[in-house]
Symmetry: C2
Subunit: 402 residues, 2 copies
């Protein structure tokens, strides 16, 4: 909360009437969420069941058998959307208060697309130990933890440590949501162009949360070769000053041994995945292999304009809703958590993520075309397909508790 | 979350079908809350305003002027109901998971009675430092903190420290909710019997959260004399082994110098307030002064049966809904927070609590009788009256930010 009264704000005189001329502000006025009762409380009888004295019998039963919390509280349906506000959209470290509209939006999407109740939690701490400790303390209140907009490389350690200590799903959506949707789209793009993932050599621009996770899931799925760049150029073994996450990437990627710029590496490549906020020239795109695939995912400005890219390659996708083939995390996270919660999964395995991608790719089916490699977020088949695949894989992997 | 699968629970074979024969369990199945969107998300246009790219403009505006979070997020309407599960109802230390049904119930009452959105947060830590630190980290996500069912004396230090460091309302309802309603009821009981608070000598059984807070608000309101007992008898200056909270109570109370049992102190007393879970004999009640007032508030079993007490005293109240004059916190906390949030109060002052009690007492008006010293929780006049009084007093006290 701001200690500063509105009338003496930092900017001195923010006029919210004028802000509301922007429809995005008008939509946000008063916030985007509410908490409601799912049961009636009309009279003293209702109150005596939902609250004292009736509630005491439910509490006692859970104290005796903790597994009953799954049946008699909302915990097994509720996900915390946790951020520290350090890497919000493309805006960077804007802090927890300013991150709240994104986290509210995420919670709204959880409900609308996955019927998952979600609570936005913006934390006033950025230290890894503090973040982990706080989420562990919060965990009895939630059936899952969706980490969001936490900057790299801290996000990797926060997620890894929480996955180790908690027995509920922990999922950093900037990593794995993006990875799932990219894998699904790339599978369909490969199918459209008559190839398998093993035939493809990919270049990923960006070694932040999403770049790392996309690279990992593509390796897992058997991509032919993949190389990753950051702001200093391609990541390779022996490059000076790599952090541990990038060192591990260097070991596992770039068999071709690219050491120059992203654009140099694109010559002859089959796939470009842009997750960097940088730009790529038309010339570099034109230098790619025949039937190339370009996912220019930076938002709001793709690394290369999709219409420019389309002149040279077979398939183009972006993160934007105003072009075909929108790579949007909302295609993944609602169904991933819905499926995990439905079977009380103790964790979300790599297999469950790949199953989600396969299910998502499968929704496209025979309608596959260069303008339709991935379904629309508003396709009602998406969340049920992802949910079913994730729940089934959880059972196969032995992490389902019901 | 329970790590134990339902099929291998601690009790071995909890049959939830049979549990559901109890209507309290049936009501609780699946939990009692949901999070919903307050805005439509029907198509890509809606999504582009509620989420990316539109949301980025709102985030940027809040980063520039933090006070805008009040206008463009749900934070200014949402209260965290925070517990560590150490003093749940009369059940004691049952832990955070088993406390959840109560915290969900509280959140439900916040919405139904005060149109306040509330999120139940059951924390897996009991150390005072850890509780304070965790709530401070959570604070950017909430417009107020309702502490609940945290055992004494830790609850006093947790609340005091949070009030010191946070600039949003922090309110331990077990203390102040009870205190507000008791003060309101006692004002009306005194009026009914032709006295003022200054004429009354009171005995409070119980020096936990509610006993201490009731004593403090009655002192603040000018009670004639008041003495408090705990499980070892009356609290007086010089008694061995008092903790700091009880030592302070000993200094400020018991001018009459009672050193024996609660029952001994009741001889000739005007008011008994039971907040202890113990029992008081009919004989002790009969020994009170003429026109005595008995609030036997332990739940579900009052310290003395209300029909027995009524044979000897002028006014009887309990915590139960099946007798007249129910002292129920729901008469206070929804309006207290609604009023505080409406004016963006930085804190809840003592005056605001007394104003809430006065407003609550005032709802009874000319209908005052021995069976009607306090309104019903379902009286629609209650929350608006409390809200208005609290908001107005916040302005008078200089803690309102709008």
């Amino acid at each position: 909360m701001a200690a500063t009264p509105a009338s003496a704000s930092v900017s001195g005189s923010t006029n919210t009437d004028s802000l509301d001329l922007d429809p995005a502000f008008a939509v946000h006025r008063g916030g985007k969420l509410e908490v409601r009762s799912t049961i009636p409380v009309r009279d003293a009888h209702d109150l005596s069941l939902a609250y004292t004295p009736g509630v005491a019998r439910v509490c006692t039963a859970i104290a005796d058998d903790p597994s009953l919390a799954d049946d008699y509280t909302w915990v097994s349906n509720v996900v915390a959307v946790v951020s520290d506000g350090t890497a919000v959209l493309g805006l960077g470290d804007i802090g927890p208060a300013a991150a709240m509209p994104v986290m509210e939006g995420k919670a709204l999407l959880f409900k609308e697309f996955g019927d998952v109740d979600a609570v936005p939690i913006c934390l006033d701490c950025t230290d890894v130990d503090a973040l982990v400790e706080t989420v562990v303390r919060l965990a009895p209140s939630f059936g899952g933890i969706n980490l969001e907009d936490i900057s790299a490389p801290r996000c990797f350690e926060v997620e890894d440590r929480l996955r180790d200590v908690l027995d509920i799903p922990v999922f950093h959506d900037d990593q794995h949501g993006t990875a799932i949707v990219v894998l699904a789209a790339l599978q369909n793009a490969a199918r459209l162009t008559g190839r398998s993932l093993g035939d493809l050599r990919a270049v990923v621009a960006g070694a932040g949360a999403s770049g790392v996770a996309v690279t990992r899931i593509l390796l897992e799925a058997g991509i032919g070769d993949i190389a990753v760049s950051d702001s200093k150029g391609m990541i390779y073994q022996g490059r000076e000053g790599l952090n541990p996450v990038k060192e591990a990437l260097a070991r596992d990627t770039n068999r071709a041994g690219h050491t120059g710029s992203t654009e140099e590496a694109l010559a002859g490549a089959d796939v470009f995945v842009g997750l960097s906020g940088s730009t790529v020239s038309e010339q570099a795109i034109a230098s790619m292999a025949p039937d190339a695939i370009v996912f220019a995912l930076s938002n709001p400005t793709p690394e290369v304009h999709p219409e420019i890219a389309a002149k040279h390659v077979a398939v183009v996708a972006t993160g934007r809703s105003d072009f075909p083939n929108q790579i949007n995390n909302v295609l993944a996270f609602p169904g991933v958590f819905r499926g995990a919660l439905d079977v009380r999964a103790a964790t979300i395995t790599e297999n469950m993520k790949v199953a989600a991608a396969n299910a998502l790719a499968g929704v496209v089916g025979d309608e596959l075309s260069s303008d339709y490699i991935i379904p629309s977020p508003f396709d009602a088949r998406v969340a049920p397909a992802v949910t079913a695949a994730v729940a089934a894989q959880a059972a196969v992997d032995g992490v389902a508790r019901r």
